[in-house]
């Protein structure tokens, strides 16, 4: 990986120009890598507010990609001075969008965060998903409180952070491509359109997770490892993705 100090502003502009003018994706990737330490540093500042650091780093990375896509090379402004507020803005939007959508007692919020960590730890220790009783024992609370605290986790706002982000990762295409076009009638084509329309409303990560869970049949724990986020976060994203799909298809 490129160290942040080894890439000057001139180099960064050259990389961005190569990407913009020649479609040099490798140049874009080098540019992104050069900012990773900065992105991590910014994400770290927002840690300790109830979100896991790896999740925050992913959000910050989305901000970085947006900044790189939107930066105007003709302006006499350093790329860094544009990246920094864009990443911070993305993180702030994350907290605003993910804020608790209903009033939840502080005690339950704190228990929810503790349980999120405990689920990861116990899954690793036990080699299976922990039971409610095990979580309650480990957290030193009653089982009813665990059930209640897990439920308040659903009180997170469900708006997608990156729905408007147009990436060329192609996760949706993979999913759609699983549907064989051959020897299908009009109805199937219509269904395909409906599904494609619904999938377009998901961001790349949601599409990937839906594919892993419902097409490839991975469990939440396996997806958590694959994507690099917490199991609790996978659960939230699956629920949100299916809600979005359902709404989009209904509207269509």
């Amino acid at each position: 990986m490129t160290s942040p100090g080894s890439v000057s502003e001139t180099d960064r502009r050259a990389l961005l120009r190569a990407y913009r003018e020649n479609g040099d994706v490798a140049a874009r990737d080098r540019l992104i890598e050069s900012f990773i330490p900065v992105v991590r540093s910014i994400a770290y500042r927002y840690a300790g507010r109830g979100e896991q650091l790896d999740d925050l780093e992913q959000v910050a990375s989305v901000g970085l990609i947006k900044a790189i896509e939107r930066f105007d090379l003709d302006r006499d402004v350093e790329l860094m001075t544009y990246v920094f507020p864009t990443v911070v803005g993305e993180l702030k939007r994350h907290f605003r969008d993910r804020g608790w959508s209903v009033t939840v007692p502080r005690r339950l919020k704190e228990l929810h965060y503790r349980l999120s960590r405990l689920i990861e730890e116990l899954t690793a220790t036990l080699g299976r998903s922990p039971t409610i009783a095990e979580l309650a024992h480990e957290a030193g609370v009653e089982e009813e409180e665990v059930v209640e605290a897990l439920e308040v986790g659903r009180a997170y706002a469900s708006r997608s952070l990156t729905r408007a982000l147009d990436s060329d990762e192609g996760g949706g295409a993979e999913l759609i491509d699983l549907i064989d076009d051959e020897e299908r009638g009009y109805e199937a084509a219509e269904n395909r359109e409906l599904l494609a329309s619904g999938l377009k409303a998901l961001d790349d990560r949601e599409r990937r997770i839906v594919q892993l869970r419902f097409v490839e049949g991975l469990t939440q724990s396996q997806i958590a490892v694959e994507i690099g986020i917490s199991q609790m976060h996978v659960s939230r994203l699956i629920r949100r993705a299916l809600q979005t799909l359902s709404e989009e298809i209904e509207e269509a």
């Binding site: 998903s129 039971t131 219509e190 097409v215 939440q220 359902s246």
Partner: protein, 125 residues
């Protein structure tokens, strides 16, 4: 046990009941979460003319059965388009529970079955 509840705005009640029931059966967290999501999908798919649906939960030695029943006189809404290998409702539910049956009776229902063995129940627990 059985509860009738409005489909809109009361899904969290269904989740709480399911979590409580699953906890009594010593299901793992992930199995409970999958079951909750399956019930949410089923609730969106059964017709709810009067705005309500019924969830019946019963258990035996081998697992938990949940029957989500809607109003009479309307067909089951499969919600996700049918496709041979895509994201139709049956495929989605099939990933979340061990068995799915659609009942297209006068009052359409979705029957979900989660086995104890597949639900991460601690042996001897």
């Amino acid at each position: 046990m059985s509860i009738s509840l409005p489909v809109e705005g009361f899904v969290n009640v269904a989740r709480l009941v399911t979590a409580g029931f699953g906890s009594q059966l010593e299901f793992g967290f992930e199995a409970i979460d999958d079951l909750q999501l399956a019930i949410e999908l089923a609730l969106r798919s059964v017709p709810a003319r009067d705005g309500s649906a019924t969830i019946a939960l019963s258990s035996d030695e081998s697992g938990l059965t949940v029957i989500v029943t809607g109003s009479e006189g309307a067909p089951l809404d499969r919600r996700f388009p049918d496709s041979e290998d895509g994201l139709d409702l049956l495929s989605c539910l099939g990933r979340l529970v061990d068995r799915v049956d659609f009942v297209d009776d006068a009052a359409p229902a979705v029957v979900l079955r989660k086995n104890r063995q597949a639900a991460g129940v601690v042996p001897g627990g």
